[in-house]
């Protein structure tokens, strides 16, 4: 090999490297350096770890309440994070012994957040545990901790059609109310036709607000669909493929928010329409419940109780019971262990934990784990149902 290929370069240069370095450094200021810039400040204000808020106002709605939340200045939350219409926040709750979280879509306009307010709609669900608690106990002045805005259920012009068919069931109207306001205010740029399913006319939420928005802004349309009541001016039945087809164009995307049962039904309808996956987007489940699709697990483990050993990463070991028909997350919450969680649908990964031993079942509809996590034994506690005694690690909160 040749050795003289660099002889043109004077070897003394080497000796100058350190003196050069010192010279530059010595000529700089010895002040405390700046460590935070706009990108850092923005990152924090867009994605706060927690927002402390107070209930400022409560409006009654059919079997539901609309809460207006404002920053809790005393707890040093100065402002609320901006968000994209369609996103949700997760509420931290303590109900009796249980520590739990519940996601709620923001139904107010993003612009209201800049003025320091969020609104969320809480419908009292049949056998609802958290929703009933909230609607019975929250008052003006109640203090709560919520997460930063989360989720991917928003219009992304680079991906979605410019004409959105929004399919809402019951309280699933909430994100669309936010989207409609954003459109009317010129913050969002797409046409929105809402197909809003309720059982009866009385149960329709945000009726006046939706009608006003549709009146004011021609990009917004609302079609009410009643399943249990035949009435003039309303569609009757379910939101079928035929109804969707009426509004479908080459430039349409279908957005769906409602109950798990409705998702199954709508999925069949959009399959009949031959829509590619990219044209149909579902909001997070909020809480996945085992159904007929999961019958095999239910048959074997549904009525079982397993022992769950929980190692928190700050050194504690708890032994609790976990039901085969409830997620590991719910078992933790029942036991008062404050485990991290947000979407409760498998997609955000906040509740990722390590399964040290035992077996769990993950419904295919909620499988959103990273590939390596599946082989390395990590689970999303919110969508993992025990099939045996288990041992897990949890990041304590």
């Amino acid at each position: 090999m040749k050795k003289d290929y660099l002889n043109s370069v004077p070897a003394e240069r080497f000796a100058a490297i350190i003196p050069n370095r010192r010279r530059v450094i010595e000529s700089a200021s010895a002040e405390m350096p700046q460590y935070e810039y706009n990108a850092n400040v923005l990152a924090r204000s867009l994605h706060p770890k927690v927002q402390h808020v107070i209930v400022k106002d409560i409006a009654e709605m059919p079997a539901a309440r609309l809460y207006t939340l404002v920053p809790d200045q005393e707890k040093e939350t100065e402002k609320l994070a901006y968000f994209q219409a369609g996103q949700y926040i997760s509420l931290d709750l303590q109900i009796g012994e249980s520590r739990l979280s519940r996601p709620y879509s923001l139904c107010s306009s993003p612009s209201l957040a800049l003025r320091g307010e969020y609104q969320i709609l809480v419908k009292t669900m049949n056998n609802g545990f958290a929703s009933a608690y909230i609607n019975e106990n929250f008052q003006i002045g109640t203090r709560i901790d919520i997460s930063g805005p989360s989720g991917f259920f928003y219009h992304e012009p680079l991906r979605d059609g410019s004409k959105v068919i929004g399919i809402a069931g019951g309280s699933g109207i909430a994100p669309f109310v936010s989207m409609a306001q954003a459109i009317a205010e010129g913050i969002a740029d797409f046409d929105l036709t809402i197909l809003y399913g309720s059982r009866t006319e009385e149960e329709i939420l945000f009726r006046k607000q939706l009608d006003d928005l549709a009146e004011k802004c021609e990009r917004i349309k609302v079609d009410y669909v009643l399943s249990d009541q035949q009435k003039e001016g309303f569609r009757f039945g379910f939101i079928s493929s035929e109804l969707i087809r009426e509004y479908l164009t080459d430039d349409s995307s279908v957005f769906v928010c409602g109950s798990q049962g409705m998702y199954d039904y709508i999925r069949q309808q959009t399959q009949q329409l031959d829509l590619p996956l990219r044209r149909v987007r579902f909001d997070a489940y909020g809480e996945y419940r085992l159904t007929g699709r999961d019958q095999k697990h239910l048959d074997r483990h549904g009525d079982q109780k397993y022992q769950l050993t929980v190692r928190t990463n700050d050194g504690f070991v708890h032994t609790i019971l976990a039901r085969g028909d409830e997620s590991i997350l719910v078992a933790l919450e029942r036991a008062g262990i404050k485990a991290p969680s947000r979407c409760r649908s498998g997609e955000c990964g906040w509740c990722r934990t390590r399964l040290l031993s035992g077996a769990v079942y993950t419904p295919q509809m909620t499988e959103r784990r990273r590939q390596y996590d599946k082989v390395a034994g990590y689970i999303h506690a919110c969508c993992s149902f025990p099939c045996s005694d288990c041992e897990i690690t949890v990041n304590c909160q």
């Binding site: 090999m1 040749k2 050795k3 290929y5 660099l6 043109s8 370069v9 070897a11 240069r13 080497f14 100058a16 490297i17 350190i18 050069n20 370095r21 010279r23 530059v24 450094i25 010595e26 000529s27 700089a28 200021s29 010895a30 002040e31 405390m32 350096p33 700046q34 460590y35 810039y37 706009n38 990108a39 850092n40 923005l42 990152a43 204000s45 867009l46 994070a81 901006y82 800049l114 992304e156 012009p157 680079l158 991906r159 590619p276 996956l277 990219r278 990463n313 991290p340 990964g349 906040w350 990722r352 784990r369 990273r370 590939q371 390596y372 996590d373 082989v375 390395a376 990041n395 909160q397």
Partner: protein, 513 residues
Amino acid sequence: MEKYDLIVIGAGNGGLMTACRASQLGLKVLVVERHNLPGGAASSFVRGRFEFDASLHEIPDFGQGEHRGELGRLFDELGIKVEMVPIKDAFRYVVEKDGQRSLDVVFPHGRDKVMKLIEEICPEDVEAMENSFSAYGDMERGLAYFGACRGQIDPEVLRKEHPNFMRIMSLSAGELFRALGMSEKCQRILSAYWPYQGTDIETVDASRYLMMVYGYFVNGAYVPKMRSHSLSTAIADRAAQLGCRFLYDKEVTRILTSQGRVCGVELDDGRVIETRAIASNAFPEVVYARLLDDRSLVPPFELKKANARKYGFRAFSVYLGLDAPPEEIGISDYTVFISTTDDSRLICEQSRTRFGREYALDVCCLNMAVPDCSPEGTTEIILTISYTDDAWADVSEEDYVRIKREIADQLIDNLEKTMGYHIREHIEEIEIASPVTFARYMYSPQGSIYGYASLKWDGMSSRMLASGMEQTIPGLFFVGGHGSSLSGYFPTYTGGNKAAFQIMGYVRGGGKR
């Protein structure tokens, strides 16, 4: 009261590797990480049916079998098991402006193949190229000597046995190429890799350029089969097996000192934990100006150094999940560098603002190395551009998403135009990461992804020679992209490994340096 030998702040590559090695050396180690999983930039995220790597395109020096490289051997030695996949070609380089293509070349891996290509496209550069490979060899030997004597170099040995190493250490990449007598054309082709170096070819050290680019040419490049998340998780799991404790979802809010040396940390939940040493994956200025309880302890030289430095690239990436296979999209390469000019200085200059007229776009398609990384009939690609300044300084909360989209839109446009890919009609998932996103996940000032810029006075050569000489507060060590090994997977892993030995020396020596 718990007491540790070492607390690692942040579970990025540097922090993880330090923690793993220190645990293996028998130290009692705790890692505190703000996020709920390890990795920092070395992580992945799932959107619908796709899983995207947040940062990793390729790693040098992993190697397989008898060609096991330095990094591969480090993983073996520590018992970290990750499935890695080789990448076929180094890169394709397309230079095109206003529809005029001036260059389109695919660089292979493997010295012989590279030489064959040079014979074809730059026949007059064969000798210069051969010599550049010799330079790589001399560089490697020099580094090996450096590593072996742990900083205690004998100037006589260096002069006698490593004269070319000394010369290379003093040059920029551009200077080296010219000293080798390389033609303008060949230099420009070789400069394609500059975006991975964090600065233009005239500024970046020849040492760094050789180690990375020739490292790729000679030993090939690798990606993990299951994203960088598999690397991070495997290292963390192995460290845990070796006794290391991890606190996720916790932030270090204060570094405590006593009698002039570090002695503990305070967490965001108010807990105080004692330790003998701290390895910080957080930047020095964050430690000095925000975390440290007693700022008067910082040596003025360290403050000056922090002020003298510039940040490495801040990235902007668009992650696309497409609902058609690569051949239908038109993709046939793993990495394509698309540039409007082959003058890296010009692009560096133009990259100070959010979207300049001249740009360099890096397109990476994981399916070309790991065909089943996404479901059958789909493709995932990542488009990346880099900023050389604080280009997002004026963006507000309200405008943030709109601006992100505008730039992503332009990038997709340019990509479709230059390469003829069919992208728009196939976008099933899209995520856009800006310097703000990287600031969120790495906590780095301005969202720098590459620590400090590799400036002439602060490049690999200078940092390497200075390491060990520049001391900060006793017990405090810096690991990661801002450390003395520079940024990137290879440097942060190997740098973290080295730091663990220094830390062991400090701890076992009863706090002496």
